[in-house]
């Protein structure tokens, strides 16, 4: 005889099957199938041709520029975004709410609009350009211009991930550190920062990923000179316009690969930063 039927434990929250099913379907349609199609498209051409496309001087230059500029942009955002989140949570001043709302402008603004206005500002007769040109600094059509456009569109990711964590941090931790004799800087370094580190890492990673894929804001300020100021996303777009679907897919696949590596590293870092949390 068979064993007694196992007892089915009832879930407290109903609708698990339905909600999970819907989520999975949505994920498949929106994320999985496009990614799969991209991979298949890239695979059509075989490894030798794939390698030839992605290691061509023009592609390599584009990747190098994209990654370098994204790293610079993220470094700027890491410093400035943390400062911004700190100011928005720790101080009270008039206009704070306006500043807080302004933080979302890069999210809300069409990236092409951001790109156009940045170009206008930094061009030789623009507001910033007028100041910088006599100093011999030219922002448009350079690596720096690309980095500035990237940092503009990705700054909210850092601020908006760190801000809530900083806000929820129990002030008693800092007060305890103060009674124990720690200076304000030591309190930040040893008590506050370690606790916001997971969110901070997550915010910086998303900002970096966004910068790698940014397109609209950059194409106007970059000048798009092949081998010099042409970013990878634009190169893929150009290939697409030339009906070279496989070439576009190959370049896009490399970007996808970077993004996956990035997320993997970020996850490991966050797990490490949260090692003290009870599972």
């Amino acid at each position: 005889m068979s064993a007694a039927a196992p007892i089915r434990t009832k879930r407290v929250l109903p609708g698990f099957t339905l909600s999970l099913g819907t989520t999975l379907l949505y994920m498949t349609v929106i994320v999985l199938i496009p990614v799969l199609a991209l991979i298949l498209k890239g695979a059509e051409i075989g490894p030798a041709r794939f390698w030839a496309i992605v290691s061509s001087p023009r592609a390599l230059a584009a990747f190098r520029l994209t990654i370098t500029a994204a790293l610079i942009a993220t470094a700027i955002n890491a410093v400035y975004g943390l400062l911004m989140a700190w100011v928005l949570t720790r101080y009270d001043f008039s206009g704070k709410r306006i500043l807080d709302a302004l933080m979302d402008v890069p999210f809300a603004l069409p990236t092409a609009v951001a790109g156009l206005s940045l170009t206008a500002l930094f061009s030789a007769n623009g507001w910033f350009g007028q100041v910088l040109a006599p100093l011999g600094i030219s922002i448009p059509y350079t690596l720096l211009g690309v980095a500035i456009a990237m940092s503009f569109t990705s700054i909210p990711f850092v601020v908006r991930t760190v801000q809530p964590v900083l806000e929820d941090l129990d002030p008693a931790y800092e007060q305890a550190a103060r009674t124990l004799g720690a200076s304000e800087f030591t309190i930040f370094r040893r008590v506050v920062f370690p606790q916001i580190l997971p969110a901070y890492l997550a915010g910086c990673t998303i900002a970096l990923a966004r910068s790698l894929g940014e397109f609209g804001a950059i194409v106007f300020i970059a000048g798009n000179l092949p081998l010099k100021t042409e970013i990878a996303a634009l190169l893929a777009f150009i290939r697409l316009e030339e009906y070279d679907y496989q070439g576009a897919a190959a370049i896009a696949l490399v970007l996808l690969f970077f993004a996956l590596i990035l997320l993997l590293v970020s996850n490991r870092l966050q797990a490490w930063a949260l090692r003290y949390k009870e599972r």
Partner: protein, 358 residues
């Protein structure tokens, strides 16, 4: 360290939380600040710690003006109600924190820090927890770590905010005794805040009863219990029954009341109120008494009675069930309180009516 507080006031926006506090804490004393929530006791503690600043008044510790010193310079050990252990540091690092953050010139060597932490871990009986993170500890264990962290800097004054508030009854009892022992070993001046009068009385050398931003009474457990200074203090001691009486020659008179067991008071003659605790009233059969039993419940150990008079006034009386006279519903009984506090009509009741929970 002797702590002298004079004329201290503090408001949060429109709410005045401290109204002219004068208090002297002796060196090595273990003092309790006792009061209901909103009485200002925690604010007073936080001002001593340097986490809040008064609007007026002085705070002098061992001859030094502490209001001119930031919290970092006061060398106080502060134990927070929710402990505020650093979640990303293990127990050892939490306890060592106060030593490791000192400026390099004053910082003890790593070996000295390790030795101090080891001693504290032993004193607090948490050796085996040294490598754990706070999230892996029980409430009682966190409490000990928080105390260890505060003691590590050899504080001039140890301050505890509701130290046992978040713990269950059995652990409280243990930790109380243990805190007393730690206090005796370290000898540091200690102030703790509590709303639990039993806790305050058991643990402290002296108890400061606070109500509505003022000090209602200062004394030892026995002094406060035997001679509550005001109706507020009496109520806070659990005397929730307010019986209208006539005072004559320091004695309380009322129909159905035998107050002969109470010591005479110094209140003026005339109408007054006798405050009683439900568990310190004896009952004697008396057919002439207006009080009749209208409810009788048993908890096994105690009898819970409700007595009602013809006007509809009700009082609760708790008696041990064993050895109590046989009492049935409808019995007429005379009240013979063993403890009570009398105040004449004119005496100030309390600054504000206080909500007392059972």
């Amino acid at each position: 360290m002797t702590i002298t507080i004079t004329g201290m006031s503090k408001s949060f926006d429109a709410t005045q939380v401290l109204r002219g506090i004068d208090l002297k804490v002796e060196d090595g004393e273990l003092l309790a600040l006792l009061g209901p929530s909103g009485s200002g006791k925690t604010t007073l503690l936080r001002i001593i710690a340097g986490l809040d600043w008064p609007d007026a008044g002085q705070l002098v510790v061992a001859g030094q003006d502490w209001l001119a010193l930031p919290a970092q310079k006061r060398r106080i050990g502060f134990v927070f109600q929710q402990y505020a252990l650093f979640p990303h540091m293990n127990v050892r690092d939490n306890i060592a924190f106060g030593l490791t953050v000192r400026p390099r010139a004053e910082r003890p060597s790593q070996a000295e820090i390790d030795a101090t932490v080891d001693n504290l871990l032993t004193l607090l009986q948490i050796d085996h927890l040294a490598q754990r993170f706070p999230s892996q500890l029980s409430g009682g264990q966190r409490q000990r770590v928080a105390l260890g962290r505060a003691l590590a800097i050899q504080p001039s004054v140890l301050l505890l905010d509701e130290p046992f508030g978040a713990l269950d009854a059995a652990i409280r009892r243990d930790l109380r005794r243990w805190l007393r022992e730690v206090h005796e070993k370290t000898g540091s001046t200690t102030i703790f805040v509590t709303h639990d009068q039993e806790e305050a009385f058991e643990l402290a050398d002296r108890v400061v009863v606070m109500g509505d931003g003022e000090i209602s009474q200062i004394g030892t457990a026995d002094e406060i219990y035997d001679h509550p200074a005001s109706a507020f203090v009496a109520q806070f001691m659990g005397a929730v029954i307010a019986l209208p009486v006539t005072l004559r020659g320091g004695r309380a008179m009322a129909p159905g009341l035998d107050a002969s067991a109470l010591p005479a008071c110094t209140e003026a003659d005339g109408p007054g109120t006798l405050y009683l605790r439900p568990d310190s009233i004896m009952l004697d059969p008396d057919p002439a008494s207006p009080w009749a039993v209208t409810r009788r419940d048993s908890t096994g150990t105690d009898l819970r009675l409700v007595l009602t008079d013809p006007q509809g006034a009700q009082i609760d009386v708790d008696l041990p069930r064993r050895g109590a006279p046989t009492i049935a519903l409808g019995d007429r009984l005379r009240l013979r309180p063993l403890w009570g506090a009398m105040f004449s009509e004119g005496a100030p009741l309390a600054a504000d009516p206080i909500q007392l929970s059972a």
